[in-house]
Amino acid sequence: MFKILQRRDLTPITKLYVVQAPLVARKAQPGQFVIVRLDPRGERIPLTIADYDREKGTVTIVIQEVGKTSRDLGRLTAGDSILDFTGPLGVPAQLAEKGIVVCVGGGFGVAPIYPKAKALHAKGVEVISIIGARNKDLLIFEEELQQVSQEVLVATDDGSKGHHGLVTDVLKQLINSGRKLDEVIAIGPMIMMRAVAEVTRPYRLKTWVSVDPIMVDGTGMCGACRVTVGGQVRFACVDGPVFDGHLVDFDEALRRGKLYAEEQKLANERAQREVH
């Protein structure tokens, strides 16, 4: 059992948990994830690590309540425990050693961008963060990113804060401003990561994305998470989840991501009925 030490509601549907998991914290690196299971009948879901503190033995995760498990997790609070919390899994992100790196985060993907921005900043790399959400109330981790970024640029779909539009508009403006950018890291919905990769492709600007496919075991055993990268089949859990965004077959990944859409809807409806 892994104790929740702290819960912070970032938005009405986005929650941050600081979890006591000393073995995971000791090894965690930016780009890695954990597999979480809440109860004996629960599913195993991957969650990207949003922060870690090796001294305190804690790992931070951020969830958005979209499916049954994330909703169940959303009901837990400080003092409660998580049944299974396995990791750190996946290959740590290869972070630039110098230059300027743009960190693009969309929705709750802003959270897992943070440990990368933090690590880059600690190495003396200049970080420009671009974060986006539907509206200003759904923006997360803005303050944290301010601490480790040269500047934080904001985009909202409804224009309630920052640029009225998409993070990719802001990225385009930044590229066109003539500043020499070395790399882009993008984490967010698959559609956003695909759009970022399309923006940077003509400039041959190295772009890392963190894919979020369906997983079962998360240790290389099942192959549910296969992603085509540069024409080759890779397992996101052991070869990724960070890949070269210009090589990922996003159309296929999007399609595979919808494999259990019907079942998820069914589980959500059932959960709703139980609540009411």
Partner: protein, 462 residues
């Protein structure tokens, strides 16, 4: 003298059992067990025992059954085998003890597996009895992986007085016994019971620890473990590398079976994990895993037709005969001499068919089996909406990559000394599928026992 026939094992009717996940083979009654045991010749030189990878004292335990001493029989088995209820069910006895049985000359070997199962089940039904715990020798040994190799090693080490910690990557214990072998062939209650006996004997189990990620082998040694046994299992599922394998509706058998067995997807939405399966399912491959996948699929309520697609003929199928027979009884259709070349899909990206070549058998290949050759112009399509690839696995590199100096064989399996299981690192031993590639439960257990003996030898002088 005419040899009496083997006492038949009662089984669930095929028409009923394809509607449930309960165990197919129902086990002997006491009368059946005694009757079968009474056929045993109690040979002076029991050759059957030489066929057993864990050296069960077969003659003696059957002798005790004949006398009605079932407690004595289970104790006798447990002297060398920590998982008899498992072995009685899933061992390929026809290639081991029963193959060596003298009565096999008449084609009617003693049903050793069924007898082992009977005494093991009888003991479990009466509650878990824990063998006395030996005095601790104060030495710590770590076991990586709680599958058959790891459990066998842990059992033998704890009996010798070691303090044993088993690290398991998944949330549940048993490895392939839990995630791979279906409930209808090996009820999970049995695996849990066997694990609980080991726990009661003093084995410490740590789930959710992925060695190579959460902790490395060297870090385990730094914690004071003087030896480490690696029983990490088979690894990453293989695919065919044909067009269409990324379509929705194509799974590895590992994924399909893990969803069904470990995650209980057949009970969705009572359990959270679903499994997406269409009415017509093709399983590619013909080993035991393929049979398990096909028979599991057959039991799902919306499935109408299940095919086993195999490029050779039935005679070359690597599955146990018993599994193949069960599959056929359950209405699974064999499509032999059939080789998939492409998976077809619709505009939405879902599987609609499996395009195959018809094959014929040519000259024997390196494996000694006749090589299948495609018949020109023989393409045809099997209409299916799910394809399950049961083609074996390639080694998982998590441990080998993170353990400096740990040598692998050219195909990626861990390299060990045959007799001891010793790897290229001092104090680090390995066995089971991680060394041999996909094999059987009992061979993995045999490797675990061998390594446990070698570890004991190694640590005696320390």
């Amino acid at each position: 003298m005419a040899v009496k026939t083997r006492v038949k094992m009662p089984a669930q009717d095929p028409l009923l059992r394809i509607r449930n996940f309960s165990e197919v083979a129902l086990g002997y009654t006491e009368e059946m067990a005694i009757e079968e045991a009474s056929r045993c010749l109690q040979c002076k030189d029991p050759v059957c025992q030489k066929g057993c990878p864990v050296a069960v004292q077969i003659k003696d335990f059957i002798g005790l059954i004949r006398k009605g001493d079932f407690d004595g029989a289970i104790d006798k088995i447990k002297e060398t085998n920590s998982l008899p209820a498992v072995c009685g069910r899933v061992c390929p006895q026809e290639e081991q003890c029963e193959q060596s049985c003298i009565l096999n000359k008449a084609g009617r070997p003693i049903a050793i597996g069924r007898l082992e199962r009977y005494v093991a089940d009888r003991a479990l039904a009466r509650g878990l009895t824990v063998p006395p715990r030996p005095a601790s020798n104060g030495k710590k040994v770590a076991v990586v992986g709680s599958g058959p190799a790891g459990l066998a090693a842990a059992g033998d080490l704890v009996r010798r007085g070691y303090q044993v910690t088993v690290y398991e990557a998944l949330h549940d214990l048993g490895g392939v016994l839990i995630y791979g072998i279906p409930e209808f062939r090996l009820p999970k209650k049995i695996v849990r019971d066997e694990v609980e006996i080991l726990r009661a004997q003093g084995v410490d189990f740590q789930t959710d620890v992925v060695v190579g990620k959460t902790i490395t082998v060297d870090e385990i040694k730094e914690l004071g473990y003087q030896a480490v046994f690696l029983g990490t299992g088979a690894g990453l599922p293989k695919f065919m590398d044909i067009p269409g394998e990324s379509l929705n509706g194509v799974f590895s058998a590992n994924e399909f079976l893990t969803r069904i067995n470990l995650m209980k997807a057949y009970l969705f939405p009572e359990y959270d994990t679903p499994v997406k399966i269409g009415a017509r399912v093709a399983v590619v491959g013909a080993g035991n895993v393929a049979m398990d996948a096909a028979r599991s699929a057959r039991r799902l309520p919306n499935v109408e037709e299940v095919y086993i697609v195999y490029r050779r003929s039935e005679a070359e199928m690597p599955a146990r005969k018993e599994e193949l027979e069960h599959a056929k009884e359950e209405g699974i259709v064999l499509k032999t001499l059939t080789n998939p070349v492409r998976i077809l899909g619709n505009d939405a990206g879902w599987v609609t068919g499996l395009e195959c070549h018809r094959m014929e058998l040519g000259e024997p290949d390196a494996s000694g089996r006749r090589r299948p050759v495609a018949v020109k112009g023989s393409q045809f399509v099997i209409e299916v909406d799910t394809v399950i690839m049961a083609l074996g696995t390639s080694p998982n590199p998590l441990v080998s990559k993170t353990t400096p100096g740990l040598q692998t064989q050219d195909w990626g399996g861990l390299a060990v000394e045959e007799e001891t299981g010793l790897t290229s690192r001092e104090g680090v031993y390995a066995g089971g599928d991680a060394v041999t590639g996909a094999a059987t439960v009992i061979l993995a257990m045999g490797a675990g026992k061998k390594a446990a003996a070698a570890i004991h030898e190694y640590l005696l002088g320390k």
